[in-house]
């Protein structure tokens, strides 16, 4: 009984301690503070703490003093909490967590992790929508008269148009977007070779190109190869958008089988399937070309330029067949919001705060990806960022030496009349004359009369990154949104396993048999040797009158 009492005491003491701790938290969350649980990609938001020299010196209408420019002093999340609490009669706090892949996020959700606001990619948004997990945005979120509704007031019509087409607009707000393509070293890789997905199986670049280690990106590039001729035949543009989308979302059994063979060929030719190592390998020159998402391509080019010991000029190419237009968007989850109006308001405010143009610029600067926001401030930032940009009609800024410019048309994104004037050398590829393929730049449709001759600024240009951040209109014309695999996911994953695993059928059955036989013989030999005394040699029996002594 004594012992029982003691145990009881301990249990009681522990439970009292636990209760008081919980109630302490419980009180504060219930009455005063709303906790917003946000899950975002790793390294996908401005964490602040910029150096003095990192100030983006453009006029910022959202700052207290517009002359202050754009500067990330504190982390974006902290700034949001401060901004929100100043504007509302209740307080919030943000529980910010990160995930590494869409699948990682999905698995965590299925395991019961609760988030209010998450930022998955297009296909994962589709999957969550199909499973009815997503809470729609409120009507207030779409109220254009409210100046705090930065998302609806500033998001590019191009992006919202696509979201409308797929029926996502009510549920998702685009955060970042981009294309897929190939980063390469122009000194060592032929321009023609990187203008097609076939470079992945090009014997000239055996073991010198990396591919993404995830089934969706690998499958997309493979479809680009398998359907390559058809894609080039149907041409670019809106007219054939549906055909193109069908070809690149083709999950028929025959195509999956063809993709398997193609991927096996690619596996034997590429340097590696990489998840993250490709960036460093590209910068250090271990590989010559690298299948990348546009934002990481920008990051790689920046890194290679800034490499003090060995600055390298890298380029980003979007293959002629097609490119995967991808989006990462904010969606609210029903399980998290759970009918709580304040929580929902906070989640929507978070999206709006990130969409405030100066914050969009901060995030773009910090992570290298392209925001969905298309305001003047973002355009000014592009203008500021790519230092060689100038307007030839403006006498004051006209540089005598800089006589060759290219008009980089961004009207599809920012609206009519938005073009950046880019130093032509920024887009120069090789040799003495500018040889920009029309496919790469959309020259046929958007070119101008300025004659291109080469100008090199004497230092490494940073303008090439622009091409990664904002694809030209011609690239948009061959872009495709890759949808969720749906029911076909199992088949495609099986295909992926076939590619990545060693398949016994690939080997001569005789050899497999011999190897198996040898292994079996060796194992048998070891076992027999071990038990040899018991099996072959009779147990030693002591002579009469003697006793065996166990050691």
């Amino acid at each position: 009984m004594q012992r029982f009492k003691r145990t009881l005491c301990i249990t009681a003491a522990l439970s009292i301690a636990a209760c008081s701790t919980f109630s302490l938290f419980g009180c504060s969350t219930e009455n005063d503070v709303v906790t917003l649980r946000v899950a975002n990609w790793e390294e996908y938001i401005d964490l602040g703490d910029w150096g003095e020299d990192e100030l983006i010196d453009i006029e910022n209408e959202y700052a207290e003093d517009p002359e202050d420019g754009v500067f990330g002093e504190n982390s974006m999340v902290d700034d949001f909490v401060e901004w929100f609490n100043a504007n509302h009669d209740y307080e919030i706090e943000v529980e910010y967590s990160t995930f590494g892949t869409n699948e990682d996020l999905y698995n965590r959700l299925s395991l019961g992790d609760i988030y209010d606001l998450v930022c998955p990619s297009d296909y994962m948004i589709m999957k969550l929508l199909a499973e009815d997990e997503v809470e729609p945005f409120s009507d207030e979120f779409f109220d254009e008269d409210n100046e705090h509704n930065y998302y609806v007031n500033n998001a590019s019509d191009y992006i919202t148009g696509i979201f409308d087409d797929y029926g996502w607009s009510q549920y998702a707000a685009c955060y970042m977007w981009g294309t897929t393509g190939i980063v390469y070293n122009p000194d060592l890789v032929d321009e023609e070779a990187v203008s097609t997905w076939n470079i992945l199986r090009d014997a000239d670049y055996k073991r010198q190109v990396t591919i993404k280690d995830n089934v969706r990106d690998a499958y997309f590039a493979t479809l680009g190869i398998i359907h390559g001729e058809e894609l080039l035949d149907i041409g670019y543009g809106d007219a054939t958008a549906d055909e193109r989308s069908a070809l690149l979302n083709d999950t028929s059994d025959e195509t999956i089988a063809a993709a398997e063979d193609m991927l096996k060929e690619i596996k034997e030719n590429v340097y590696s399937f990489e998840t993250d190592s490709g960036k460093a390998d590209m910068v250090t020159g271990k590989v010559l070309a690298n299948y990348q998402w546009s934002g990481d391509a920008v990051y790689i080019m920046d890194e290679a330029d800034g490499d003090e010991s060995n600055p390298t000029e890298l380029w980003y190419s979007v293959p002629e067949e097609c490119t995967n237009l991808w989006f990462d968007g904010w969606v609210m989850l029903k399980d998290g919001i759970d009918g709580d109006e304040q929580r929902k308001e906070a989640a929507e405010a978070f999206v709006n705060f990130l969409s405030r143009p100066d914050n969009a610029v901060r995030n773009m600067y910090y992570i290298g990806y392209t925001s969905s926001i298309a305001s003047d401030l973002v355009f000014d930032y592009m203008d500021w960022n790519y230092g060689f940009v100038f307007d030839p009609s403006d006498e004051e800024y006209f540089d005598e030496e800089l006589t060759e410019v290219y008009e980089y048309d961004l009207s599809y994104f920012f609206g009519d009349g938005y073009s950046l004037y880019v130093d032509a050398s920024v887009l120069e590829l090789d040799g003495d004359t500018l040889e920009v393929s029309s496919e790469m730049l959309g020259e046929e449709e958007y070119g101008n009369d300025i004659e291109y001759t080469v100008y090199r600024g004497g230092e490494i240009n940073r303008g090439r990154q622009l091409f990664g951040q904002y694809p030209t209109a011609n690239i948009i014309d061959r872009s495709v949104v890759m949808l969720d695999f749906g029911d076909k996911l199992t088949d495609i994953n099986q295909m992926w396993i076939h590619v990545r695993c060693l398949d016994l059928l690939d080997y001569n059955p005789v050899i497999v048999g011999i190897v198996a036989a040898v292994v079996v013989v060796i194992i048998l030999a070891i076992v027999l040797y071990h038990f040899r005394y018991r099996i072959f040699i009779k147990k030693y029996k002591p002579r009469k009158g003697y006793k065996k002594i166990e050691a």
């Binding site: 012992r3 003691r6 145990t7 005491c9 301990i10 892949t101 699948e103 999905y106 698995n107 299925s110 073991r207 010198q208 280690d213 995830n214 089934v215 596996k267 590429v270 340097y271 590696s272 399937f273 990489e274 998840t275 190592s277 271990k286 996911l489 199992t490 994953n493 992926w496 396993i497 076939h498 990545r500 695993c501 060693l502 398949d503 016994l504 059928l505 071990h530």
Partner: protein, 265 residues
């Protein structure tokens, strides 16, 4: 009130740990392994593992990689441990330390460094995926082989060898008939500690650009495709294989003590 614990109560944390982190997860794995996506009981996952040439191929590839790594480790570790244990160096603990020290550095860091070295030696390291994986794993697991060998060789009674020599055995014969058999527990313990982890350590393969899956990466790929059932079944099968291997090796070393495992654990 005085808080005093008796022995039984002291093992509550241990029991709680065991239940929470060993038994419950194991039950969850077993549950998923024998159910399908709808939660119905099925043996399909088991059948599909053994009926696919890919999964069997992966199993064989993992074994091939693990066995090669173990053999290489053994070939390097045995002479090293022998020399260390038998040598008259006064500072042999310093030498031993030199072999163990890499273990104190995070292994991803070591493999990254190894990658650079291999690049210098081989040029394009993507061309030799199997070789590089073996080198990487050997580098990673060598101390686990050296330590048990070293302790078991150190404990050898020298008089046994002297006796063999006195009775006219040549040095080779002494080694083959006395030293080697007596160090078997150390060898077995080293093999267990190298063979089993090297079957699943796919991070080394990833980092050294081996694109072929081993068991670890195969399990990961199923979980990435939200197929927890097949993933769990493969984990379970791997668990059973490891259990069998441990059982077999324990039979070999049961006469002796645990063969120097205590050095590491």
């Amino acid at each position: 009130m005085k808080l005093r614990f008796n022995r039984k109560q002291l093992c509550i944390p241990y029991a709680a740990f065991l239940i929470l982190f060993v038994i419950v997860p194991l039950l969850v794995i077993i549950y998923y392994a024998f159910t399908n996506g709808e939660g119905q009981f099925t043996f399909d996952n088991l059948v599909s593992f053994f009926s696919s040439t890919n999964t069997i191929g992966t199993l064989i590839y993992s074994f091939a990689l693990a066995i090669t790594t173990t053999l290489v480790c053994l070939l390097i570790a045995y002479p090293t441990a022998y020399i260390l244990a038998r040598s008259g160096f006064k500072k042999k603990y310093v030498l031993l330390l030199l072999f163990i020290m890499p273990m104190w550095i995070n292994f991803t860091l070591r493999i990254t460094a190894l990658k650079e070295i291999l690049t210098v030696i081989e040029g394009n390291i993507a061309a030799y995926p199997f070789l590089n994986s073996v080198i990487g794993m050997t580098y990673d697991f060598l101390p686990f082989m050296i330590l048990p060998l070293y302790t078991s060789l150190l404990k050898l009674d020298k008089s046994l060898m002297e006796a063999a020599q006195d009775l006219g055995a040549s040095k080779i014969r002494v080694f083959l008939r006395v030293t080697l058999p007596l160090s078997v527990p150390g060898i077995i313990s080293g093999i267990t500690m190298v063979l089993l982890p090297s079957m699943t350590n796919y991070v080394v393969l990833d980092m050294l650009y081996n694109s072929t899956y081993i068991m670890g990466s195969l399990i990961g790929s199923y979980f990435n495709a939200y197929d927890w059932n097949n993933g769990s079944m493969i984990s379970l099968i791997l668990l059973v294989i490891i259990f069998i291997v441990t059982l077999v090796t324990n039979r070999f070393s049961d006469k002796d003590d645990n063969g120097g495992r205590e050095v590491i654990l």
